[in-house]
Symmetry: D2
Subunit: 338 residues, 4 copies
């Protein structure tokens, strides 16, 4: 922690700032620059309230020097976390984890059919939305609990672990009992009530990055879950909101690198939601693997033309089958396998 | 609804696109431009699924021409909505509504003291956080239900309606029974489960704009509440996330004008959260009133230096008292009163 | 200047970092935190190359504590700069400076007519584009030097100082000889070749903020002009680029406050370009004055319907006349006059 | 072109809008929706002034349906453009073009040494800055014309074509006579005076995307150059400005896909400037090739620790040599070679 004094601070103000820092349990080193005097905290600064210091007369600003995330921080957990999804599937190790499936669960035939197809092509897990976060209250909101049951059916047939989004804390028990990975959507990334509850479950959590969330905020949301006791957090980069409107969002692949450096948690990339256009999915999936993602989550629909949701960004099972060997080739170039 | 064909569409593709539109219940007008052929829908296009049309071969894109928000749309409700907060206080009429109080409720003395002070200065309602959405799980999370009780105490003493944020659907009954206005924070603006539940309550909802929410998305979140039956929605502009880091967020005052044109709902401005610095609050509050806001929500703390949360952006009761006559003067210039 | 060491730095690395800092002419204070060790520079750190230090082994990052702008910095020039535009008009003092006129100069009748009208309504200076920065090479590019001559004619008739944009260093002599204020457009804010040349002229420079320019970058561009010897820089906030598309840009009124605090230079606001819609101009102009702007620059056209450029954001002379007394009233509320 | 009428338009307003469109040379089709009436232009709409139509009473908005870029548009030039840089090097074909070299030219030993090293590792061209666009007027501004001479020396030794940035139209003749590819920096992407002049040169232009430039604006800047007669434009994605501050900019790899679809021009990616950190360069370079870039431009410095500019984002010749076979492997996976 570093405190920068205003140019015209008085000796009394300096004294008060030092005392306030010392009251938080640190010793203080004073460095007088030609224009600026700074105070450095020596010892454990976690007891010093930064907001109070910054308001002291004569203080210009306070700069944090330690990262606020702890359990998700690679500094205290240098090895990559590998998270088991069930049925022998894991994420975070050398083998990439490819999660595929439709935006929404629609019918038994659709979800079981897609599940079989993506399993045959080499997918590791099945995604499918039962509860859908839609911008409009007048849009299809998902099949709800019936959708969960259909996902379980698809799992029974294929053995694929299932990944689906939770939107209400009321469904926590059902999700815990029924699904393999609980997804938190981008719009709920800072729904702290939900995050705290998920910290008490025993299932892996796939935490999507919020639309305008910084990397630090994203890791702090992971921290909410981990602070509750559940350390099985999978991060998912799915595009951020920028001024560019050609794509639905802007896929931030450098965030994969940043997060892998800052944290030990595995990271998957969702090219479908990031771009919003099926024709971009293949190339952005390949780029994500080249960048170092631990996995992908891809929307696959048997009949995108008639999908109830997000058809334009869904690829077909045939396209997914054609993609998998290409992913495998790229993975090989960066020392990984699919 | 307008469908733009690709430059090289075939007659069969045109025919298929027209049939798909007609299947949705509209007649179709074809306009052949020198480079582009477009199809216009005649009649009620709400039955046409835009996502399906956009995926048809030969179709380049689909452009929406009607706004997706209905109940919040000024087109169908030309007069300004005026929403009663209780105790004779209303928002949306000629008189501005100034909501003031601390970021967090901390002690009985603090909240009752601030309530008395802002009441004396002319505030219309009291704000105070009992449940706090904090980026870090290690930060003070608010007093919870005890905070609600202290707010009720402050109301009992001053008669000011109370405004406080909800973070969990589990607290809906208590909020409905205890508070006058239920606030939805920026981070929960698209927590659709929460919005749907609030649509079934009888209390006014203060809906903050999400950090990276477009004006249309914000109105669609209002629509979620209104579609449930609760039409008492107050919009709150509190700054958006941009590349600029000098201020915590960038206050978007043109959004006040935009929303007042598109919607009949009242709009308040929160200069405290937008800027994050107490010294900016007065001027941005004056600017908000000049721009046409229906009210303000301002953080006032008796001892910002020792506030448990957001001290740096809180003004003191003395500063608030000094602000009110200035607000009143500006309001007079634009035909309103405080 | 503060250097933060990596958690696992070695004694040799610490020694090397200290030596590198000392080689830049400072003494170094070492503060050992529980997690982080920091080095504070004591003395004048301007000789220390930050980029070199940050690459040293064992160094995590370098934090700057002094602002990089000097001549534009209020610290070294506490009083507001007042800049004379000619003909007794000044900007930066108690009296607001309202600059008005069409986007483009089109005909003698148009520019002289508008000049007379805005003069009669109380404008202090005339704006008008002769060289136009257009996104498309196929759009009207302005009248060029003929436009400059028409502006001079309008000045001869009305006595209003003229403000117009320069786009090429080739025109520097003509601009210096012909106009009163040379405008640098948002797209050229970091055209450093142009800025350096303007530093050698004797005319006031109106420097628009770049579309995605931070406040610091904006002041650094002012610094380029001032470092060349020309201290007459007027800053102009004209909206920044954000994710919101309802308005052309997002007017950032908190930037006015920020810049007035950081710098002694005067700041004007351009609500016309910021919003891109004539109906928003009045309210955003009032808000800008309430926020503390030193002036406004407003597009006024005698026949917006037939303007060659930016008609939709131009107000009429009648609307401008109606606006001026309102501006005057708001100015009065914040201790200023028009 | 589509004109959307306001809900409450009058028959006279409809008539006037139709006449105004017809005056621009098109026939007009009227589609009456249940809520909205739209007018479609039939024929060549380029003669219709969109800004005038949008201001007509009763008109709500005008939607463009054709792209404003023509010469850079793939619609009118379906095949990929392949641009020769000299010495048998080309960009846009099957073989990737890797441009490498230091941020700034510093000494003969440095630039010739780096040129030899990157040539040996397989680079196709040499980059090096002689004129440097620096945020601060107090930073090193480049060696200027001496730097150009050193680049020529490096070309004489290695045979590599040279790429360097122009900052002033005064240097056009020298650049045309001395360098192989003229670079336009991100900050000058909308310096239209410069773009027009470059349209009259005979050299390939490497046009960097502006920090907050949309894909359409970027192509319109290419259009400025091409409209002048010079069709040899190479686009360069180098990261955009977003709210995220961990990286210097946010590399937008989906823009590569978008631009390749919209335009026939080749696209290179600059991972060094995008990320600002040397350790990210390798992975982002691999990702760029996987995404479909036609080439890369990478900062390589023999002694990053002592570079005069941008050392932290420069990789060493050794790191570059290690990168090339990895690029080659990824290129092979997507059907290309290095």
């Amino acid at each position: 922690m570093v405190v920068v004094m205003k140019p015209d601070f008085t000796p009394d103000q300096l004294k008060a700032a030092i005392e306030a820092m010392e009251a938080g349990g640190v010793r203080v080193m004073v460095s007088k620059g030609s224009e600026t005097t700074i105070l450095g905290a020596e010892g454990n600064a976690s007891g010093v309230d930064q907001e109070r210091i910054v308001m002291l007369p004569g203080v210009d600003r306070v700069m944090r020097v330690t990262e606020p995330f702890k359990k998700s921080n690679r500094k205290y957990h240098p090895d990559d976390s590998v998270i088991a999804l069930g049925d022998g599937v894991a994420i975070g190790g050398n083998k990439l984890c490819v999660i595929a499936g439709p935006c929404s669960v629609e019918t038994p035939e659709q979800i079981v059919g897609v599940a079989k197809a993506v399993k045959a092509a080499g997918a590791s897990a099945l995604r499918g939305g039962a509860f859908k976060p839609r911008t409009s209250p007048y849009s299809f909101q998902g099949m709800g609990l019936d959708g969960i049951r259909l996902l379980q059916e698809a799992r029974a047939v294929t053995g694929l672990p299932i990944v689906t989004e939770i939107m209400s804390t009321e469904h926590l028990d059902i999700f815990e009992a029924s699904v393999d990975v609980i997804q938190v959507g981008a719009r709920n990334m800072q729904n702290f009530d939900l995050l705290k509850r998920l910290g008490k479950t025993t299932k892996p959590i796939l935490l999507k990055r919020g639309l305008s969330s910084t990397i630090e905020e994203w890791l702090m949301s992971a921290e909410y879950i981990m602070a509750g006791g559940n350390h099985q957090v999978i991060l998912c980069e799915r595009g951020i909101r920028t001024f560019e409107t050609y794509t639905r969002n802007t896929l931030d692949l450098s965030a994969v690198l940043a997060v892998k450096k800052l944290s030990h948690l595995p990271v998957v990339v969702d090219p479908s939601h990031a771009c919003g256009m099926a024709w971009m999915v293949e190339r952005m999936a390949l780029a994500a693997v080249a960048a170092g993602a631990d996995g992908l989550i891809i929307e696959v629909h048997n009949d995108p033309q008639n999908a109830l949701c997000d058809g334009p960004q869904s690829i077909t099972p045939e396209q997914f089958s054609a993609l998998m060997p290409k992913l495998s080739a790229i993975a090989g170039c960066v020392g990984r396998s699919v």
